[in-house]
Symmetry: D2
Subunit: 136 residues, 4 copies
């Protein structure tokens, strides 16, 4: 399995009147997690998009166990456990500094050709970069 | 089944560089949908919270079929199909003006007592208000 | 002076841990105000952009007098008091249901040609639509 | 003058359909800048708030010179040039990696007692921490 960890400091505007990070903001946190995970693999999401491959999100799911609070330094753990085809599934976990798992979730992204607007296969080089992590 | 419909006009800041509504923003759209759905039932979410019952989101899932664009006038269809206990499950659909279903999802909220911070039963009156829609 | 009023219901995710609407969210509220103001004049901001005229914000200023709270139904009052040239200045006020003015501000937008990426004059038809409100 | 620098990586959801960082998001970037600036001085904004001193924003102004783009690594330069009384004025600049100044702005925050809800003086220790930077 490929695993990457990214830190995110909770911003004031990301909290809500309960004092919790608003539940919708984790979509953005997970996105930061996967972009930094790709960067670790030598893949820049922006360059991929500029080269004509879009990666829109097809599905997103999340279960919330505990809230995050303002100024918490969170760790987003991003995982890829399957070889991508036209789809790229990620799993995520959010942890706080006390070692508590706050939530876990998953997204499935789809490789789309910007030209044809249709699903396409993951770039060869990307699959190669992932392979060492996915074997055995 | 209880069904309520709410309109949301897509704001500029809610789009992303693909020109789509950012995938994370639907959490907020769905929340608008369920708050307006509760209002239709005679329940004001703010008053419920001020009276000591919090309703944090326990889980959220969504599948994206088509994107929404800037200035689209969306319809959020919010549905409750089960009698609530300590949990309140909602289903959602987002439709655009062309009659296309853009995405569908669900959230499960948990009734929490602000005092004890523990799950509690849905208020009697709330269950009563829903009952006519859930029978048969 | 041209004046338009738009209602915005405060969303949960727009509040912060103080219980107030986060100060940065008024940029988006003001944008809703000016887009609806343009619509009143028969101008659709999206169509303007699609036709090759961008209107990025050059400057934004705001003074906060009182907070807005969750579920408040706000009125954004949007005003244009000058004939636009290459710039389009707006003034704004946010009012709550109790008749309290919560904040006031202004933005200056610049007409930019999408083709040349340089400032250009406001479209003739737009100036004409505004003229009746700006005279005398 | 007290100066602190903070890096922020632009997130996908912070861009808009023009491909720029949405103009309203700089309020949040500036907030990150000032929170990190306070931390540099040994002051934790969250602890200050928890100890009964709120710091709501009274005014915010910004001039935009150039846009920021997705994945840009921005530097927020946060400055304090005056001894705080009941008000705490900050200046800000946003720079990109090419050394271009993208925007500049300022906020004035007000020290408010959580108990009385009225303006109060800046904490003694905070003024002391700033003093070495403001002299001469």
């Amino acid at each position: 399995m490929f695993i990457a960890e990214t830190n995110i400091r909770v911003r004031y505007g990301e909290t809500d009147r309960m004092g919790y990070v608003y539940y919708g903001n984790y979509a953005e946190y997970y996105e930061v997690g996967r972009v930094e995970a790709l960067r670790t693999l030598g893949w820049n999401y922006k360059e991929m998009e500029d080269s004509g491959i879009l990666l829109p999100v097809y599905s997103f799911g999340i279960r919330y166990f505990k809230p995050a609070y303002y100024d918490d330094l969170l760790t987003i753990k991003t995982m890829i456990s399957e070889r991508p085809g036209t789809r790229l599934p990620f799993q995520y976990e959010t942890w706080n500094e006390k070692g508590e798992k706050l939530n876990e979730g998953e997204t499935t992204l789809v490789f789309i050709s910007a030209e044809t607007k249709r699903p396409c296969m993951a770039p060869e080089g990307f699959i190669k970069a992932l392979e060492p992590f996915l074997q055995g």
